[in-house]
Symmetry: C2
């Protein structure tokens, strides 16, 4: 990806009024590049806290009813200037993506299945009635930005550069209506280490049914900014009770929350997986994750884990460290708290883990039951014994190793890893 | 309310470092006033579209971890400058209020039960883990702003100045965490006419169960910006099918949406009321609105309507145009689509209306059933016959007249109307 060539093609910001160009399409060939006068110093990797340090540049394009998408611009990272009545502040039609650029053994930056992020961003934008955009064009622009900023990717295993494409509604009026003619699309980036300091440290979850992250017919299946703020207070309460993250439950309309019928949905901002030993004498396992019923984010890592479990099972791509004889049967199916308790009682609950772009795979050590109001001395917990003393269980470790190897381009799988 | 005096007390923006002052409290006495060089021309009232024209000034105060709430400032209306990583764009911890300033017969601007908006704003902020603030101080500041800007309130019945207090999270980092140490609180205002061009024109609603506005354990009971964007697409679909607004339903987890068991929640961005004639021979009515179970916004107009219905019923404050003999029994109770259908079949469905700050009371003419996917030729509708040919039914009209009379200070009721 040749940023200089692209910028040089049309570096002056002047575009001819070509009547053949459909008004308003996002057009990567119109890229304008404004260079930073001075570049920032890259901090030592150990000082990087997720999402705090931003790189030198950002990509910005604005949608207006007069012109559609403006010529995209890569320019020095800096503040946005917006009317205080804008939808993004008032009604929150704001969507984003989480991607990472990894440094390959050849030193080149690589993206992981980026077309899936582009598709999801387009679906998210549509869900909150933001203007549509050309996903191929945006991916080209992101690859330019990553190539330009590749010095920010730490050359250390487990480190990467986090990429945050964002679209916000900028309609500057207070009537409750779609911001379908006014939007700002921008991409910012942050060099980052492991989301949790020690990737093998097992996290604890507090299962909560009083507060519900997503509901059928709601927006939990889309990557909308508005899905996250309602969790802040609950996350703080879980931390105060000594748990790392919330396990979000979905109770029915009737009856008490935190009952055995409550469905398990997501773990913090990660998709949830549980590994259950089969009741036959084999070492085979069933691996369950909740189905995409509208309450679950269709995670790229989730989809990749399901594919890799099936590929191990079929023998096409054995998971590192997992015997080829040990079958791993993936299932997208409803999981209730009652299921987890029953599997635990039967001694079949082997592993649980969360997956997502920020963490890859995060092993779960225990799940506290009963919700926010149970006194800690009376709380039941599901414990996942650390059988091998390695933090991660065998399946989580196998998926983690497979995915991170593919992400960094050390192992090839389909065309999941794309060099910039 | 003496804006000049308040500003003069500390007009230079310099505050002494008084160690007795608790760090960070919102302090109205520290108000800084920056005057506009030129004032805008007030457009003719007929050109006002809800929420498009802003007044000359806005109120702003910023919360930082170092200083808490900054000295509040009234300054020329203008853009906000914010880091693109701010929570307000990414995770949407953004809350707001809707209030109005009405011009009284004495020419003075008046607010309607503003302390209820302040309480709700504080509860909304707490729900998304924004910093707390002194509600009394904010109300003093809003009264200053309204007094300063009172020339913007059109002197025409049905017109007012809409007030939009807003708090947004400004934590400039991408980690998914509360913006409890970084926020911006601002108040902007727009002169406005009736929300619907003709206040007596009856609106049509399309009942939708496939998309759910709010659910138990969700955030529908708080005034969060994030409750609104998910409705944009559905609202557009309803408009395309010829309906003015969506009637939001809440189906259970099991079974098809749009069944008779679906609960009725809100009408567009309004609270929903339905008037049902009693089955005895009297002319008395039961007036139902859904209970505050966490899915319903605790509207100030909703609460006022319930109080006025009870006051009519007890004889304390007869509703204009409603016979004192005609009892109006208010109820906060679950209403299902099946209830509406049954009441219609029994000939007892008299009126329905939406209520809210923007509209006061908006009469409903019909409700389309079956959700988004029913062909229009096959759709069942609940019709509310316009018996008196006046648009509004007797109860809606009585409430509308009572509330607007109290808002403008023409009639006194408790201390609901407050002069600035």
């Amino acid at each position: 990806m040749a940023i200089k060539k692209t910028a040089a093609t049309n570096g002056n910001g002047i575009t001819l009024n070509d009547s053949r160009t459909k008004l308003g399409e996002l057009d990567a060939s119109k890229l304008i590049f404004t260079e930073c006068k001075t570049l920032k110093a890259v901090p030592p990797p150990e000082q990087l806290k997720f999402g705090n340090v931003k790189t030198d540049y950002m990509l910005v394009t604005e949608y207006t009813p007069q012109a559609g998408w403006s010529a995209p611009e890569i320019k020095p990272y800096g503040p946005l200037s917006l009317d205080p009545a804008c939808s993004c502040f008032q009604y929150c039609p704001n969507v984003f993506e989480g991607m990472k650029a990894y440094r390959g053994p050849d030193g080149k930056p690589r993206l992981f299945r980026p077309e899936k992020n582009m598709e999801r961003l387009a679906r998210s934008a549509e869900r909150v009635a933001l203007p549509g955009f050309d996903t191929d064009a945006l991916l080209i622009l992101i690859r330019c930005l990553v190539a330009l900023e590749s010095r920010w990717i730490p050359d250390i295993p487990g480190y990467s550069m986090y990429i945050r494409p964002t679209i916000i509604g900028t309609r500057p009026a207070l009537g409750v209506a779609a911001s379908d003619q006014n939007a700002l699309l921008y991409v910012i980036m942050c060099p980052t280490g492991p989301y949790f300091r020690d990737a093998t440290k097992r996290i604890s979850l507090l299962a909560v049914g009083e507060h519900v992250r997503a509901w059928p017919g709601g927006t939990g299946g889309h990557k909308l900014g508005l899905n996250y703020a309602p969790g802040f207070l609950v996350q703080k309460a879980a931390l105060e009770k000594g748990y790392d993250q919330v396990l979000w439950l979905l109770p029915g309309l009737e009856g008490e929350a935190n009952g055995e019928g409550d469905r398990v949905t997501e773990a913090g901002a990660m998709n949830f997986f549980v590994v259950v030993r089969r009741s036959d004498s084999s070492d085979d396992v069933d691996v369950f994750t909740p189905p995409l019923d509208g309450t679950i984010l269709p995670g790229v890592t989730r989809s990749s884990c399901l594919a890799l479990l099936a590929a191990h099972n079929s023998g096409r791509f054995p998971l590192p460290g997992v015997s080829r004889e040990r079958k791993t049967h993936p299932h997208e199916s409803v999981i209730t708290i009652g299921d987890l308790i029953r599997w635990a009682k039967e001694g079949r609950l082997v592993e649980a883990f969360g997956v997502g772009t920020a963490v890859a795979v995060a092993p779960i050590g225990k799940i506290g039951l009963g919700g926010l109001d149970v006194g800690e001395e009376r709380r039941d917990e599901l414990l996942f014994p650390d059988i091998e003393g390695l933090g991660m269980g065998q399946i989580a470790r196998g998926l983690y190793d497979a995915i991170t190897s593919i992400q960094t381009g050390r192992v090839a799988y389909d065309k999941w890893s794309v060099a910039c």
